[in-house]
Symmetry: C2
Subunit: 334 residues, 2 copies
């Protein structure tokens, strides 16, 4: 299979992308990576990397979208930027999927322009895997769709559930709705209507109802559905609180120790590595006809390689075939 | 001054409320607490507590609103429930403020029914104090108003800013808007319009723009404004991630130690106590003509006493006079 990698995406330019591609093809014999970016720079980096012959290709697209650029403006002013070229390759059938650590809004905007969605998907949503006390949960959407309709959230529940089954290996994933209280009738109009759709739809037996902020990391549901605004805040806040708490632990717990300080520091370092975003491997944009994985802007080689791995696995496990089948079981939109 | 306490509010019934009242009046010589609830039970508890004579009164209101009861139904079916009686006392001028650890929705609903708002306040909002790497921030709203208008958020910025100055002692508090990215133009219609209102209003010199989830606990702004849906998720999620991370630290860091395990455990315990909600002292419902402080449902004696202290301080520092003056400086609503 072939995955396009936006080699200009991310805070650190092509280096971690090229290194990540080299690591990913070494790990997956069925994978070819198409590096999309500034060809001379990429080839210089490739020459220094140990890449199995014929497993990495380069497409020249030297224009980058800046991390702070407005997506709509970027689309208008730079239609051939590397991230948009990745989408073009997908639309042409030249690749099976794409991975980018670039401007998330631009990745999503490129997808919306291409409109290469699966049948019966209204709007793609980004799924993020979060660690919980019970293992892992998927939260959809974390930023593709900040003002969704109830139907979109219902579709996110279905797609997240297929992702949890196929990629996280959860047999019958439970689905919950992020809300401000557990009881039915809580929250604004969007969540109340979405709640009713889940109760009436094919996921009703696995729908656990509303999930509050404090229950998310307790593992209240395998799949947590929310609008892209709340989901984005949840994802970044979780990272922020983790960083904040580990900082305090570093100061106040390690600071209280003498002889065993090094032992504790090693355990803290282990926790940081285990829960660092790069261990997760990027967030898939579900609903695209193909595979699209979005990485953290500060992704290093390991994060890029993991994201390519997730993309390859998405193709291999035919996640989209299962999504299409399950979406077809939804009642028609009213 | 006189503060009404909903003695039936909270998960643990009257005991922590009565004990909290006793502790609060002992700490503040100018405070009288009016315990509103089941008179015989309260008097039995009072007899066992050491309360300075004449500093605690009792109003008989034996009906409680359940923690899971729908606020609108409770208002209709139990108009004389203890929490609503607290609001009646405030409306009659019999008390200067009220404190409740009961059903948050019912506390807010009682306030909305009484409509005892400050002039030019459209909708009250709940302010919560959160620990950050730089000290403390106030986030408004954390659940009173899940579908606000931009004007409401502008008013939350003003009210939160007065609270930060008067109660947290921040000289010129900065104000930020919770959003999915730092750049102007990010997010849905509500935050885009609110952004413009802040840029054009009297807080413009202290408005730091958008604040992302990962920057909140870094202390990106002294006051963070958001809709009550997002704010409620933020508050509870912060608590949940804190609990999750401290659980891992307990297992994996303490578990790695031998001789100094007790020292590390004491430091962990210290952190838990320092950042436990009961140290914060309840969340004020800003915009009410009077003082209203809402506590966590699982509040213990210390949390109730702290909340009564916050309420008393709000009266003493004339927070509302400053709020009214600053709201008058806002441009008229379009």
């Amino acid at each position: 299979m072939r995955i396009a990698l936006d080699a200009l995406g991310g805070d650190h330019g092509p280096a971690p992308n090229v290194a990540g591609a080299a690591a990913a093809v070494s790990a997956a014999p069925d994978l070819t990576v198409v590096l999309v970016g500034d060809q001379p720079r990429i080839e210089a980096l490739l020459a220094a990397a140990a890449v199995p012959p014929g497993r990495v290709e380069v497409v020249h697209a030297p224009v980058a979208v800046d991390m702070r650029e407005k997506p709509a403006e970027a689309l208008r002013r730079k239609p051939d930027a590397s991230v948009f070229r990745c989408w073009q390759l997908l639309a042409e059938g030249a690749v099976d999927g794409l991975v980018s650590a670039g401007n998330t809004g631009a990745v999503v905007a490129g997808g919306l322009r291409t409109r290469k969605f699966l049948p019966s998907v209204h709007r793609p949503g980004i799924a993020a895997v979060m660690p919980t006390a019970k293992g892992r949960s998927v939260i959809v959407d974390v930023g593709a769709n900040v003002a969704p309709k109830p139907r979109h959230l219902l579709e996110y529940g279905v797609m997240g559930s297929v992702f949890a089954r196929k990629i996280l290996g959860v047999d019958r994933p439970t689905v919950g709705l992020m809300n401000v209280g557990e009881e039915e009738g809580k929250g604004h109009d969007l969540v109340q209507k979405t709640y009713d759709l889940f109760r009436a739809g094919p996921l009703k037996d696995r729908f656990v109802g509303n999930v509050e902020g404090r229950d998310l990391h307790r593992g209240a549901a395998d799949v947590v559905v929310t609008d892209g605004f709340t989901g984005n805040v949840v994802l970044k806040l979780s990272e922020g609180v983790f960083e904040f708490v580990m900082g305090m632990v570093g100061r106040e717990v390690l600071g209280a120790l003498d002889g065993e300080k090094d032992k504790a520091a090693a355990a803290v370092k282990g926790l940081l590595a285990k829960y660092h975003y790069s261990a997760v491997g990027g967030a898939p944009l579900l609903g695209v006809d193909g595979v699209c994985v979005i990485c953290h802007g500060s992704s290093d080689e390991r994060a890029v390689a993991n994201a390519l791995g997730v993309a390859a696995r998405g193709v291999r496990e035919r996640v989209n075939d299962a999504i299409v089948a399950e979406l077809e079981a939804l009642p028609p939109e009213e």
